[in-house]
């Protein structure tokens, strides 16, 4: 019988290396590792989300979750790494249009991007959306045959519509699946309520945030009164967007809320920590 425990030292060979997988945004600098240099411990940016991590990207509607996931996929594909993109909400043709526009704006080679992204269109297939094991078989095929290294599921919540009681079980199955196939993954997780909208609380179901390696929370504030307008230095009627790493158990990270904008070309541009943004205006 295979022994059910291992001594810590035995895990050295199978432990993943700690380095970043670029998202093509300033998020890459918000994860870090501590290294020893000349007898001193210094903080070094990881250069991306931790390799082989599986992160929840969560937020209320129109907070920029899919935009971030697409930018991550585009950046990786442009760098020559294969990405498996599972679209559960929006048909694949719309994803194509969106990617092409972003690639042009970001100066990416769209031919290379096209070659390196494999899409599973679950939005148009009830079988893929309703049967998690059929979807996992299909993902396994794509990972094995196409050699993908990264996976985006947009959205994981779309896989348990109307049955949130299954949320933890389904999220855990896909989390374990990505670990087994050694993929770096992003799960888009819809936050259905604006309550505590700047946290991962109840995002995509009760306590699912505990299953994944970490969460990135996107939020937006509508400037709808004079007080907010003065605080943020923005005109009434505009929108302030924030992004925050709401925990990651694999590596050190910035814990502050950062202000970002979605550019006219539909890309994410992280500007500055919210505290500095407000201070600068003050």
């Amino acid at each position: 019988m295979e022994k059910a425990f291992k001594e810590l030292g035995e895990l050295e060979g199978e432990a993943p290396k700690l380095f970043g997988v670029s998202t093509g945004t300033k998020l890459d600098e918000m994860f870090w590792k501590i290294v020893e240099e000349d007898g001193r411990f210094v903080k070094k940016p990881l250069g991306g989300i931790p390799y082989l991590s599986v992160l929840n990207v969560t937020g209320v509607p129109d907070s920029g979750k899919s935009v971030l996931a697409e930018q991550f996929a585009l950046k990786q594909a442009d760098a020559g790494y294969k990405v498996l993109y599972i679209t559960v909400e929006s048909p694949a043709s719309f994803l194509y249009t969106s990617m092409r526009a972003k690639a042009s704006y970001l100066g990416a080679d769209f031919e290379r991007v096209e070659r390196n992204i494999v899409v599973i269109d679950a939005s148009q297939s009830d079988e893929l959306r309703e049967d998690p094991k059929a979807l996992m078989d299909t993902m396994a095929y794509a990972i094995r045959e196409k050699g993908t290294r990264n996976v985006v599921i947009d959205s994981i919540t779309g896989l348990y519509e109307h049955r949130e009681v299954m949320a933890r079980q389904i999220v855990r199955m896909f989390f374990n699946f990505l670990k087994r196939w050694r993929q770096t993954g992003i799960f888009i997780s819809q936050k259905r309520s604006a309550q505590a909208s700047d946290t991962a609380e109840a995002a995509g179901g009760l306590a699912v945030a505990h299953i994944v390696d970490g969460s990135i929370v996107l939020d937006k504030v509508l400037i709808d009164n004079a007080w907010k307008s003065k605080l943020y230095g923005l005109p009434v009627g505009s929108v302030l967007r924030t992004i925050r790493i709401d925990g990651c158990r694999l590596t050190g990270h910035d814990t502050r809320a950062w202000v970002f904008e979605i550019t006219e070309a539909g890309t994410i541009k992280i500007i500055s920590p919210l505290s500095e943004f407000i201070g600068r205006r003050g």
Binding site: A92, V119, I120, Q124, E127, D131, P132, A134, L135, R163
Partner: protein, 197 residues
């Protein structure tokens, strides 16, 4: 951008339910045993339980969804899913006179665990022939109800007339060096001996 628009392999839940139902019957010793014990009335419950277990474990359906799909009450679904396998096993083995569990549910759970362990796949005879291992189907059919380990005499008797890669199976059985503990081991050994021949 390559787009995959559907599952790479169809999962036929109805076929799986039929297989699971048959596995339940095998656990009970076959249909004949049910006739002998006057338990043919268990069949609808076993079919129901087989579907419940599969819809839960393979399709991750909620109890309510399963109840709606099968047209039974949610409470029945819950009773099947909560059935204590160990208690049902002891009841079937005669260690307990009565059991306060959903018996068919316990049997279906046992059968599902067995199927999962053995990772059975549904494959047609013609496909096995195409793979060059059509003989394996003959061996499996002949030994379907056998209890391992098998003694060489019984094995020879049961495999009489079976041809493996153009040679006689009986001749290969003569060359088996140790008792055979399982079907997998038998198939592996027969293949090895046929290749050596």
């Amino acid at each position: 951008m390559e787009v995959i628009r559907g599952p790479v392999a169809k999962r036929d839940i109805d076929q799986m339910a039929e297989n699971l139902f048959h596995e339940c019957l095998r656990i009970l010793g076959g249909l004949r045993r049910l006739v002998e014990y006057g338990r043919l009335t268990w069949l609808p419950s076993l079919a129901e339980a087989a579907y419940v277990i599969l819809l839960k474990e393979e399709m991750l359906k909620t109890s309510r969804e399963i109840a709606e799909t099968l047209g039974i009450t949610e409470q029945t679904v819950k009773n099947i899913l909560r059935s204590d396998v160990e208690a049902v096993r002891r009841y079937l083995e005669g260690e307990m006179e009565k059991v306060d569990e959903h018996i068919a549910g316990g049997i279906a759970k046992m059968a599902y665990e067995k199927m999962k362990r053995e990772r059975g796949v549904f494959i047609k005879e013609g496909e096995l022939e195409a793979l060059g291992v059509g003989w394996a189907m003959d061996v499996i059919k002949r030994l379907r109800d056998a209890t391992f380990p098998l003694n060489p005499e019984e094995l020879r008797e049961r495999l009489k007339g079976v041809r493996i890669d153009g040679g006689s199976a009986e001749e290969l059985v003569e060359r088996l060096e140790k008792p055979i503990e399982s079907m997998e081991e038998l198939l592996r050994e027969l293949r090895r001996l046929a290749e050596d021949r």
